[in-house]
């Protein structure tokens, strides 16, 4: 089967799932009477609608190819970084470092993927960015909260640009016997990580009893994590035929994706709360901001990339 066939077969499944979800959403909307229940259903319907848009964008990436995919993720990073730094208190002295993050580091990172310069892609922000940004900030002379301010900007840059860019960086992986199908591998990563989020949410809403980390994220439950995580791993295993992995390999890698994604959601929830916010923004109806959707991706993508590169790269 060609890459194209596999892609549309998987997308067919995703679209069928979305149709079912939309029908259930419409049916719940008819049935629900209580005010609290209505809010939950309205949020659910908004989430499903946002999923239609996100899946459409993913299809567009696949049809338009590599350059469009990079532009798409660069924009996602841009909006995520904008959300992160908006919630971060900054002072006039942070202006130049922030401008460098947006106008130099971000385009450079995606350009390095585009020209397949793996060596610099992997160290540009963690080495050169890490050292240069505080030095430039120091030139301004404002030492008030210097360490805190620089830490926050660096964290935002690492998370929203460096980590998120690992998702399209999957296109850099050259796996023997799997040439020219790396877009499918990226789709696989995104599918498992997002499905894991959705299934954890669904299992949590249906069976959630024991809260996992009530102070960090009140909606996360043990039942949601176990049920949703196992279900997502099962789906990831079932999709082994679009990957270069064996069924066992796909099971192990899906489990890694699910775990990393969960930890990302948890850690970023804590960051968000320490900045005094409930959602990162209001960009995606029902989901909150861009970072509310990308939190698990930002943790899962780098881990997935390096595990696969170590185990399968030629």
């Amino acid at each position: 089967m060609s890459e194209r066939h596999k892609f549309w077969l998987v997308m067919g499944g995703v679209l069928a799932l979305l149709v079912v979800a939309s029908v259930i959403g419409a049916w719940l909307k008819q049935r629900t009477r209580s005010d609290g229940g209505r809010d939950v259903v309205a949020n659910l319907v908004a989430r499903i609608n946002a999923w239609w848009v996100m899946v459409a964008l993913l299809c567009a990436c696949f049809l338009l190819g590599r350059a469009a995919t990079l532009v798409f993720f660069a924009l996602a990073s841009f909006f995520a970084l904008r959300e992160f730094l908006t919630l971060t208190p900054t002072r006039p002295g942070d202006h130049l470092p922030m401008a460098l993050c947006f106008y130099v580091a971000l385009p450079l990172q995606y350009w390095l993927i585009g020209v397949e310069w793996y060596g610099l892609f992997a160290i540009c922000i963690p080495v050169y960015g890490f050292l240069l940004l505080p030095a430039i900030s120091a030139l301004d002379g404002d030492v008030d909260g210097f360490l805190e301010r620089n830490t926050k900007i660096q964290w935002g840059l690492m998370l929203t640009v460096y980590c998120v860019s690992y998702a399209p960086a999957v296109l850099l992986l050259h796996i023997p016997g799997y040439e020219g199908q790396s877009l499918l591998l990226m789709l696989y990563l995104l599918l498992v990580v997002q499905l894991s989020d959705v299934l954890q949410y669904v299992f949590g809403k249906l069976f959630g009893r024991r809260k996992l980390a009530p102070t960090v994220s009140p909606s996360k439950t043990v039942e949601g994590l176990v049920g949703g995580g196992l279900a997502a791993t099962a789906v990831g295993t079932g999709l082994w035929w679009i990957t270069p992995f064996s069924p066992m390999g796909a099971a192990a890698i899906s489990a890694v994706i699910v775990l990393a994604g969960f930890l990302g959601g948890l850690a970023l929830s804590a960051v968000k709360r320490s900045l005094g916010a409930k959602d990162w923004g209001t960009m995606i109806e029902g989901h909150g901001g861009m970072l509310d959707r990308l939190d698990s991706v930002s943790f899962a993508a780098p881990v997935f990339f390096h595990v696969v590169r170590y185990a399968y790269h030629g």
């Binding site: 904008r82 730094l85 908006t86 006039p92 202006h95 922030m98 947006f102 923004g281």
Partner: protein
Amino acid sequence: MITSQLLVGITRLLVGAHGRWIHSRPAPTQRIYFANHTSHLDTLALWAALPPALRARTRPVAARDYWGGGGIRGFIAEHGFRAVYIERGRTQDNPLAPLEAALGSGDSLILFPEGTRTPAPLPQAFKAGLYHLARRHPQVEPVAVYLDTLHRSMPKGSLLPVPLTCSVRFGRAVPVQADEPKESFLERARAAVVELA
């Protein structure tokens, strides 16, 4: 027209600038939107936050010494948001004349009554221009607006805006009351901005 569309698009991309109508509704009434002034982005953000139909009839008041030159700034002010220029610092017969002409032809205005940028969350005391305009044009509704975050996007002295999301909050209308003294009106107007902070 295309310039205006493009300008709104770039403003949205950089600073969001989505309007939140807290104590007033978007309406085709003739208005003076007055706001706190912290950065050069304020004019664009407030103008872009208006719904398209209102935006087309609303002209920002802009200092001629900053927006009135040639180059890209002049082009933006002239063809993008159709600025009403005001002279700063020079003594004239009536510096408000161009603003009154715009009001006379039925347009709404965007005005920053502090007269200059204040790099702080709360505005300084307002200058008298707003009072004179509101009194001489009682059919025009003065509406308070608060802009946040923009002083962090583009602090004084910086040339390049950093993308941070700003919200544009529309507050209550503050009409001049009969025989109200200048100081009392200006203080009420400022308070209407401050309550949105």
